[in-house]
Symmetry: C2
Subunit: 176 residues, 2 copies
């Protein structure tokens, strides 16, 4: 069994999701989002992110972390803020000694939905199905779970789950 | 006496400088730069920044931190990396409980050189003069010291040092 913490950093909200990967099956552990105050200064926002991620690690004790590679947009100020939030999140993971794996949004959608052009609602839908949830998690929390699932499938293999399929170099291919 | 840690974050190198502000005079304590490996993955780079800043704080025990507001350029990937490095640096400061103050590059140049359009060499030159250094520090280290000096002058006042001048709202103005 391996416990995975998935993080989807954002300039305002950072989504997180924790799953257990056991016998080629993912199991839901926890999820949520960390919200920073828009009016707060940088140190305050970064403090919120770092301290909450530290608490999550202390409570749930994940063994691996997966972080979504954030979308770089045309607005430099927004990109900088996103970078700062992401840097703080990765700092919190590294300080707790967690190995950190990175996945692009494309990889997350391909792994969870099966194609890179999937809408947010489809990601949420597949997260609910794969983890047999009784309700749809909030969008940021679902993104955190989706990154954790992506890591589980790509790193620990999904051969058992998808019946003879394994991901190789980002593509699905038959194993035998 | 107050000990100030100045940080100038960069995507490859993070400059730092530590000064003591005592009796309206700045005194040099230490400076240097933290270099991350270009080929290293994000977690490795962020680990280097966070751990080194943590060590610097443990060794020199500054009471306040000042961070330069990074230059946002047109290259989104570079801006993102800069943001990540800056977020990690601020995370390290916040985790050690240091109050963090931010200054723009313009404020640093105005405070240290006297005008916002100063060249890097002029900043280095003034850092050497203000701290009575016997040699010119490396550029990133000088930038770290310049940020620390900016905080000392703007936050703790420079009336004593510049003979009747005080910074108000980012501009120099006569006090009496």
């Amino acid at each position: 069994m391996v416990r995975i913490l998935g993080i989807d950093p954002g300039s305002r909200c950072t989504g997180f999701g924790i799953i257990d990967w056991q016998g080629s099956e993912p199991f839901y552990v926890a999820s949520g989002r960390i919200t920073t105050l828009a009016g707060d200064e940088l140190a305050g926002r970064i403090g919120v992110i770092v301290e909450h991620i530290g608490e999550i690690i202390d409570v749930y004790r994940p063994q691996q972390a997966a972080v979504e590679q954030v979308f770089v947009n045309a607005n430099p100020a927004a990109t900088l803020m996103l970078g700062q939030a992401r840097g703080a999140a990765v700092a919190a993971l590294v300080l707790r000694g967690l190995p950190v794996y990175e996945y692009t949004a494309l990889q997350v959608k391909q792994s969870v939905v099966g194609r890179g052009k999937a809408a947010k609602a489809q990601v949420q839908h597949m997260v609910v199905r794969m983890l047999s949830l009784s309700a749809t998690p909030q969008a940021d929390a679902a993104d955190g779970l989706a990154v954790a699932l992506t890591h589980a499938l790509r790193f620990h293999g999904l051969a058992g789950r998808l019946g003879g399929l394994a991901i190789r170099g980002g593509r699905l291919s038959h194993t035998s």
